[in-house]
C-alpha cells in the first residue's frame, strides 16, 4: 500500500511539473468548448437576404417585416427582378433571395447551395418565418432543443473526444516514456507487482480526466447555456465508465508502442480519427454506408456520445441508456483483460 501511494505521488509530480502539458490538458477543453459553442456553429444567423418585389402586396409586406425582425435574416437589398437577385448571390453579396410573385402571392427562394446543409436549413427557416404563425399548413415543434442550438449537439461530442484523448494518449505516453528512459527496467526488476505499476499509473490520469469532465460540464452549463437535464449522478457515472475504457485503451497502446512518438501517433491516428469521423460526432451514423456503420459499431465514443445526448439533453433516466452502458461495460472488460495480459513482467 505504501508503495502504491508513493507511486501515485511520483506520477502526480511528473504531471504537475510538466507545465506545458498541463496547459494543453486544461486549455484544450476550454478552447474547444468556446470554439464549438460560439465560432463553429451551424446555427442560422444573419443570413444576407435579398427581397425581390415588384409592387408588394400587403401580405408580402408583412412577410418581409417578419424576415427583417427575425435574428436569422438580415435584409441587405430590395430589387425588382429575380435576375438581379441572382447576380447579387453570384457576386457573393447575398446568401439567398426571397421572390414574391406579384399576382398569385406565391414565394420562391433562390439559395446559394454551395453548402447544402446550410442551404437546407435556411430554406426551412425562411419558409417558417415568411409563412407566419397562423397560415402554416405544416407545423413543426422541436423537442429538447427548441432554438436548434448546435451547442446541444457538440457538448456531448467534445466530452467523448477529449476524455478519450486525455486518458488514452497521456497514459500510453507516460508508460512508454519510462520504457524509453530505461526506468521501466528498474521498475520491472523491483519486487513490485506489475499490476500495481499499471494501476498506479492510471489513477492520477483518472483524477485528471474527472477534473476535465467537471470543467466541461461547468462550461456547458454556465457559458454555453446547455441544460443538464438528466441526473448529474448518472452523467458522471457513465463518464467514469468511459474514462476507464479510455485508460485501458491507453494501456493497450503502451504495450504495443516502444517509443513515445509511436504511442502518440497510435493514439492520434488510430483513436482520434475514428472518434471524430465515425462516432456520430460530426456525421450521423445512420447515413453512413453499411460498411462504415459496422466499423462505427466498435468505436466506443459512439455509445458514450449517444448516452450523453440522451442523459444530458433529453434528460431521460438511466434505463433508457442501458444498452449503451452495457456495451461500454463489455468493452471495458475486454480491453482491460487484453491490456493486462499484454503488460509484460519481462522485456519480451
Amino acid at each position: 500500500m505504501k508503495q502504491f501511494v508513493s507511486f501515485i505521488i511520483k506520477e502526480s509530480k511528473h504531471i504537475l511539473r510538466d507545465r506545458r502539458t498541463m496547459l494543453i490538458l486544461f486549455g484544450m477543453p476550454i478552447v474547444l468548448m468556446l470554439l464549438f459553442g460560439f465560432a463553429i456553429t451551424t446555427d442560422v444567423r444573419n443570413v444576407r437576404t435579398v427581397v425581390v418585389a415588384s409592387p408588394l402586396s400587403a401580405e408580402s409586406r408583412q412577410a418581409v417585416g417578419r424576415l427583417a425582425a427575425s435574428e436569422y435574416f438580415t435584409i441587405t437589398a430590395t430589387v425588382s427582378t429575380p435576375q438581379e437577385a441572382e447576380l447579387l448571390i453570384r457576386g457573393q453579396r447575398a446568401d439567398m433571395a426571397v421572390v414574391f410573385a406579384p399576382k398569385r402571392g406565391g414565394i420562391q427562394f433562390i439559395v446559394d447551395g454551395s453548402d447544402p446543409n446550410m442551404a437546407q436549413q435556411w430554406t426551412a427557416y425562411a419558409a417558417q418565418v415568411t409563412a407566419g404563425p397562423q397560415s402554416s399548413a405544416v407545423n413543426t415543434k422541436m423537442l429538447y432543443n427548441p432554438q436548434m442550438r448546435s451547442a446541444y449537439n457538440f457538448v456531448p461530442a467534445i466530452m467523448g473526444m477529449l476524455l478519450m484523448l486525455v486518458c488514452a494518449m497521456m497514459t500510453s505516453i507516460s508508460i512508454v516514456r519510462e520504457k524509453e528512459k530505461g526506468t521501466m527496467e528498474v521498475l520491472l526488476v523491483s519486487p513490485v507487482r506489475p499490476l500495481m505499476v499499471v494501476v498506479a499509473k492510471a489513477v492520477p490520469y483518472l483524477l485528471l480526466a474527472v477534473l476535465i469532465l467537471v470543467l466541461i460540464l461547468l462550461m456547458a452549463r454556465f457559458v454555453l447555456g446547455v441544460p443538464l437535464a438528466g441526473s448529474l449522478f448518472w452523467i458522471v457515472a457513465v463518464s467514469i465508465l468511459y474514462i476507464l475504457l479510455a485508460l485501458s485503451l491507453g494501456l493497450l497502446i503502451s504495450s504495443l508502442a516502444q517509443t513515445q512518438l509511436v504511442a502518440l501517433l497510435l493514439s492520434a491516428m488510430v483513436l482520434l480519427m475514428p472518434v471524430v469521423m465515425l462516432s456520430g460526432m460530426l456525421f450521423p451514423v445512420e447515413s453512413m454506408p453499411q460498411v462504415l456503420r459496422w466499423v462505427s459499431a466498435i468505436v466506443p465514443p459512439r455509445y458514450y456520445i449517444s448516452a450523453m445526448r440522451k442523459l444530458m439533453i433529453m434528460g431521460v433516466g438511466i434505463r433508457e441508456v442501458a444498452r449503451e452502458v452495457l456495451i461500454l461495460m463489455l468493452m471495458v472488460i475486454v480491453l482491460l483483460t487484453i491490456a493486462l495480459k499484454k503488460f509484460n513482467t519481462r522485456l519480451e
Binding site: 505504501k2 507511486f7 526506468t183 519486487p191 513490485v192 513482467t345 519481462r346 522485456l347
Partner: protein, 502 residues
C-alpha cells in the same frame, strides 16, 4: 557456493544471435568485469541475470534461485543499473531516492547506512532535479538508488560510459568499498584501467565468451584487441601546398601560415553562469588538436561556438578563415562535423549516405561518383555499399561517418567523442583514418574521454571550469606536471576543479 551461475545460455532476437552457449560462474564477493565491444551481448546477459529476459536454452541462477521460475526471490536481492541512468529527470535527488526506496519496500532512513558514503557526496544537491545534475552526479545518484535496499548482488551495465575520468575514478573507489562489505559486483566497462580493477573478467564477443580469467591474463591473451601497437606518430606538421593541393584549395582562405582555428578571449555565459570563461588558443593546419575536459567543463559549448551553432557572448575567433561571429554560414560550409549521436542515416545504404552528405555540401554529381568509389575502395566497403547503415557494426559506422564528414575536403573537421563503445583495436583503426586525414592537410579538432587517444594528438588542451588550464604537446604536459601519463595529468588538473560536480 557461486552466487551467479550461468550454464549454456543462448538468446536470439530474430536472426541476430545475442548470446550463444554462454557459461559463467561468479563467486560471492567478487568484482566481475564483462568486457567486449558494443553489440557483443553484454546487455542481454544482464537482462537475463535480472530476470527481464528468458534464455532460450540453458539456465541461469542468482543466489541459487532460477531466473525463470524464481523471479520474485531474485528481484528482491538484486540491484540493477541499466545502461542509461534510470532516474526520473523531473524529480529531485531526494524524491528519486525516496521513490526507489519505497519501490523496494524499504525507506531512505532504513537504507541510509548502506548508501551514506556515496549519498553524502550529493546530499547537498538533494533538492535539485536529477535532470540538472552532471553525468558524474547522476551516476552516483543512480548507484544510491540501486543500493538503497542493500542488495547482495549489484549488476552495473556500463556505468561509466560518457563520464569523465575523475568521476570514473571516484566511482570505482566506491565500488571497492562496496566490495569490502561483501556485495558481489558485476560491471561492464569499455575502459582498460577499470578492467584492471576487477578480480576476474569475461571477454564477450559476438555473443560468445572468448575467455574468462584475471584481467592480466585476458588482456595479454587478447592483446591484439586490447593493446594494439601504438600508432607511429608521423610528422604531420605543416604540409607544403605543392604536395597537397586539395587541402590547400579548401583552406585557401587560411593562407600559408595563418592558423586554421584562432580564438581569443572567447566567453559564453548563460545567465550568470560562465560556461566558457575567456579561452584563447590557435590550431595550425594539419594539426590533430585534442580538446579535453571533464563533463560540464564547457567543451561542448566551446565547440558549438567554433562550428557556428552558437554565438559567443564576447571575444573573437576565426575558423577556416571566417569570423565565427559574422560568417558562421561560411564556416558551416568549410568544416566537417561528426558527433557521437548523429552522424549517418541508419535507414539509408552506405552509398546513399555518402551521396546525400556530399550533395548537402554542394559537390558535383560526377565528382561524387568518382570519389565515393575511391572511398569505398579505401575503406574496403565495396561489398557493403548497398547495405543499410544500421546493419553495420558500430566500428564500421564510425569509420564511415568520419569519412563522410571529410568527404567534401573541409579545412577543419570537428569530432565530438567519435569513438564511444568500441574496443581498443577498432579505436586504433579509427585513429589511422584521422592520421590519414591530417596527412592530407585536414585539421582535426577532437574531444575524447579516452586518455590513450589523447596521447595520439599533436597538441591537447585541458579545460577546467570553463578555462583552459593547460595546453601543449602530450610530452610537454607530462613533463610540466610531472606525471607518468596523460590520464594522471588529466586527473591532476581536473581534481582542482571547483564546479565540476555542480
Amino acid at each position: 557456493m557461486n552466487i551467479i551461475e550461468v550454464n549454456g545460455v543462448s538468446k536470439h532476437f530474430g536472426r541476430v544471435t545475442a548470446l550463444e552457449n554462454v557459461s559463467l560462474s561468479i563467486s560471492r564477493g567478487e568484482v566481475f568485469g564483462i568486457i567486449g565491444p558494443d553489440g557483443a551481448g553484454k546487455t542481454t546477459l544482464y537482462r537475463i541475470l535480472c530476470t527481464l529476459l528468458i534464455p532460450e536454452t540453458g539456465r541461469a541462477t542468482v543466489e541459487g534461485f532460477d531466473t525463470v521460475s524464481q523471479m520474485k526471490k531474485i528481484r528482491r536481492r538484486l540491484g540493477y543499473m541499466p545502461g542509461r541512468f534510470s532516474l526520473y529527470q523531473d524529480l529531485t535527488v531526494e524524491e528519486n531516492l525516496k521513490f526507489f526506496a519505497t519501490l523496494f519496500g524499504t525507506s531512505v532512513e532504513a537504507g541510509y547506512d548502506s548508501i551514506k558514503a556515496i549519498y553524502r557526496q550529493i546530499e547537498r544537491f538533494r533538492n535539485r532535479k536529477a535532470g540538472a545534475l552532471s553525468g558524474g552526479m547522476k551516476q552516483k545518484l543512480a548507484l544510491c538508488c540501486a543500493l538503497v535496499h542493500s542488495p547482495s548482488v549489484l549488476l552495473l551495465d556500463e556505468p561509466t560510459t560518457g563520464v569523465d575520468p575523475v568521476s570514473r575514478k571516484e566511482f570505482w573507489e566506491m565500488l571497492a568499498s562496496l566490495r569490502e562489505r561483501g556485495i558481489t559486483i558485476v560491471a561492464s566497462t569499455p575502459y582498460l584501467d577499470e578492467v584492471r580493477q576487477c578480480d576476474r573478467v569475461a571477454f564477450l564477443e559476438q555473443g560468445r565468451i572468448r575467455g574468462t580469467g584475471t584481467p592480466e591474463n585476458i588482456l595479454s591473451e587478447f592483446k591484439d584487441i586490447f593493446n594494439p601497437p601504438p600508432l607511429s606518430l608521423c610528422k604531420t606538421g605543416m604540409p607544403t601546398s605543392a604536395d597537397d593541393n586539395i587541402a590547400a584549395s579548401s583552406a585557401s582562405h587560411a593562407g600559408e601560415d595563418a592558423p586554421v582555428i584562432e580564438v581569443s578571449h572567447l566567453v559564453k555565459t548563460f545567465g550568470n553562469f560562465r560556461a566558457v570563461d575567456d579561452i584563447s588558443f590557435s590550431v595550425r593546419q594539419g594539426e590533430i588538436f585534442g580538446f579535453l575536459g571533464a563533463n560540464g567543463a564547457g567543451k561542448t559549448t566551446a565547440m558549438h561556438m567554433l562550428t557556428g551553432l552558437n554565438q559567443p557572448t564576447s571575444g573573437s575567433g576565426r575558423v577556416a578563415g571566417f569570423d565565427i561571429r559574422t560568417e558562421y554560414e561560411q564556416i558551416k560550409r568549410h568544416i566537417g562535423y561528426m558527433s557521437q549521436r548523429f552522424s549517418l542515416y541508419e535507414d539509408l545504404t552506405v552509398s546513399e549516405n555518402i551521396r546525400l552528405f556530399a550533395g548537402i555540401y554542394g559537390m558535383k554529381s560526377e565528382e561524387i561518383t568518382v570519389k565515393s568509389r575511391e572511398l569505398l575502395r579505401r575503406l574496403k566497403f565495396e561489398d557493403h555499399k548497398d547495405d543499410l547503415v544500421k546493419s553495420l557494426p558500430l566500428g564500421w559506422k564510425q569509420k564511415l561517418a568520419f569519412s563522410v564528414a571529410i568527404f567534401h575536403e573541409p579545412g577543419v573537421v570537428f569530432l565530438d567523442e567519435p569513438t564511444g563503445g568500441v574496443d581498443p583495436a577498432t579505436r586504433r583503426q579509427f585513429w589511422e583514418l584521422i592520421y590519414d586525414a591530417a596527412r592530407r592537410g585536414i585539421t582535426v579538432f577532437v574531444t575524447t574521454h579516452y586518455m590513450d587517444e589523447a596521447e595520439y594528438c599533436n597538441r591537447i588542451s585541458i579545460m577546467v571550469d570553463g578555462k583552459i588550464s593547460a595546453i601543449g604537446t602530450p610530452a610537454e604536459l607530462k613533463q610540466r606536471f610531472q606525471q607518468p601519463d596523460m590520464d594522471s595529468v588529466f586527473t591532476y588538473l581536473a581534481r582542482r576543479a571547483k564546479r565540476s560536480s555542480d
